[in-house]
Amino acid sequence: MTVYILCFAVLLIGIYGVLVKRDLIKIILALGIMGYATNLMIILFAYRKGGHYPILEKGREVTAMVDPLPQALILTSIVIELGITAMLVALAIRLYQKYQTFDITKIRRLSG
């Protein structure tokens, strides 16, 4: 139970980072932290007591294994977040070229 509470704490740290920090790069890093927390939580759901890793090997009997499906899920999720982070970084570079700052309180031409 404590591992899930720690996972939730990491998610809250990520949300704090996105809401409070003013630097564009720190916002991107905080989104990454939120992604790590979510992937960790899904992996932790896969654990079975006394289970072994889910790979068949030569000369070992098939005993209880942990659940392999969430491992495939988080692999996909990590790839998606890699793509989103790459695009956010490219957008941040372009924003610096246009506005000459990384501070989001100064990037405010659209309002109303």
Binding site: I55, L56, E57, K58, L75, V79, A86, V89, A90, I93, R94, Y96, Q97, K98, Q100
Partner: protein
């Protein structure tokens, strides 16, 4: 230190000796994707990071002379199209989209598992090329100049 010229002599020598091992390790992970953890995506990332290692140690100018970035973009798009072609072949052989239509082979051998090793290789090459082209494009955007597309 001029950033587009790379790093010191020690870094360059060690890179020249060890980057081939990184590529070999990445290819091993891709090929054994159906037998041990890893597979297409993990191996592709390792190969892309090998290229990134060379770019950091030797500078952008060297990469522009050594590698052909347009060819990498072509490989990436064609690997994706080939993945879809394997999927469509799965439809025409009965079964559904992406069905496993080659013979499954014996357990624990390298040439087993039907279409899975082929898909692993396609994904591995695509991810390697795509990741390095993305990193290259981010590296040649200059922070100081403004206003261009």
């Amino acid at each position: 230190m001029n950033h587009s010229n790379g790093m010191t002599l020690i870094v360059r020598t060690v890179t020249r000796l060890s980057v081939w091992l990184i590529f070999l390790y990445g290819i091993y992970i891709i090929l054994h994707g159906h037998l041990s953890p890893g597979g297409g995506f993990a191996g592709g990332v390792i190969i892309a990071l090998g290229f990134l290692n060379v770019m950091l140690a030797y500078g952008r100018g060297f990469i522009q002379r050594w590698l052909n970035i347009d060819f990498m973009k072509d490989i990436e798009a064609s690997m994706a199209a080939l993945f879809l072609a394997v999927g469509i072949l799965g439809i025409s052989f009965g079964g559904g989209f992406l069905a496993n239509f080659l013979s499954k082979g014996a357990l624990f051998r390298l040439l087993s598992g039907g279409t899975i090793p082929i898909l692993n290789i396609l994904i591995g090459l695509k991810v390697a090329m795509a990741l390095f082209v993305v990193v290259w494009t981010l590296a040649i955007m200059h922070l100081e100049e403004g206003g261009q597309e």
